[in-house]
């Protein structure tokens, strides 16, 4: 599970509990200027994820860490696909982050409102 918050001009994604171990990250801070949008997307978990390095991937159980696909680097931290949110980035180490949050609708609104 991840906590997403806006801190001034930044978007901060904090991994909670053991997820920080699987994901090899405890938090990621991105300037809002490099955030392109957020979308609740339960279906993304069923898509091919590419090659994992580093991280953990037990299909159907946990997808966490950095995945390489089509030349893009994608950060994953998802256990429950129904709560997956995709945060699209520009000019960042990751092309996008796919994280599990408590309330996808509220998280999407938080991010999209911060971008307007």
């Amino acid at each position: 599970m991840a906590l997403v918050r806006i801190d001034g001009e930044d978007l901060v994604v904090v991994m909670e509990g053991l997820d920080k171990l699987w994901a090899f990250k405890s938090s990621v801070t991105i300037p809002l200027a490099n955030v392109r949008g957020a979308t609740a997307d339960p279906g993304i978990a069923a898509d091919p994820k590419g090659i994992r390095a580093p991280g953990a991937h037990v299909p159907g159980v946990i997808t966490a860490g950095t995945f390489h696909q089509d030349g893009e680097k994608i950060f994953w931290d998802v256990r429950d696909a129904s709560k997956a949110v995709v945060i699209e980035l520009a000019d960042e180490r990751y092309s996008r982050m796919v994280v599990q949050v408590d309330d996808p609708r509220a998280t999407v609104a938080l991010v999209e409102n911060a971008l307007r």
């Binding site: 949008g37 979308t39 279906g43 993304i44 089509d70 030349g71 893009e72 995709v86 699209e88 999209e112």
Partner: protein, 166 residues
């Protein structure tokens, strides 16, 4: 470097207009978009940023492709009845749905919708030589007729009443 985009953005946006014009925003999932638009999920995010990003592009396309021509046609309307017919028969699915579904929750959508209605109102006002408020009332009446599905030819009945406006 990502994989080259292998889709026609123009076609994808047009298909999104159809999809969002027929269902509420929350009723269209990214899976629906991927299936109906024929775009890879990652390409969709890469190109439009988010589902909302695609929605805004689709709404603006709808306003340019469908509402713009309506305003042009309205500018040549001979009378109130013709203006009413033009509005009730135009393809305004996404505009109408955006007005009731997204505009209350999204100020950027609300601004696009308000601007589009203002253009329609102005075209009617100019064509019929009536005050802006009356043109806005005519637009509202036409949208109401659309909403009710024109039962018992209510549009035609209203048009007969409106003819003396000219």
């Amino acid at each position: 470097m990502g994989r080259q985009r292998a889709f026609d953005e123009d076609e994808v946006v047009r298909a999104a207009v159809e999809l969002f014009g027929g269902r509420a925003f929350d009723g269209v999932s990214v899976d629906d978009l991927v299936t109906h638009l024929g775009v890879h999920r990652n390409s969709l995010y890469k190109t439009f940023g988010s589902k909302r990003g695609l929605y805004l592009v689709a709404l603006r396309r709808h306003l340019a492709d469908d509402v713009g021509p309506l305003a042009e046609a309205l500018a040549g309307a001979a009378d109130a009845a013709e203006a009413l017919r033009l509005v009730t028969s135009a393809d305004l699915g996404l505009l109408v749905l955006a007005a009731v579904d997204r505009a209350p929750a999204d100020e950027e959508v609300a601004a696009e919708v308000a601007a589009a209605f203002a253009v329609v109102d102005q075209a009617i006002a100019d064509a019929l030589g009536v005050p802006a408020e009356l043109a806005a009332a005519l637009t509202a009446a036409a949208l109401g007729v659309r909403l009710r599905g024109n039962p018992d030819g209510v549009g035609a009945a209203l048009a007969r009443r409106l003819d003396p406006l000219d």
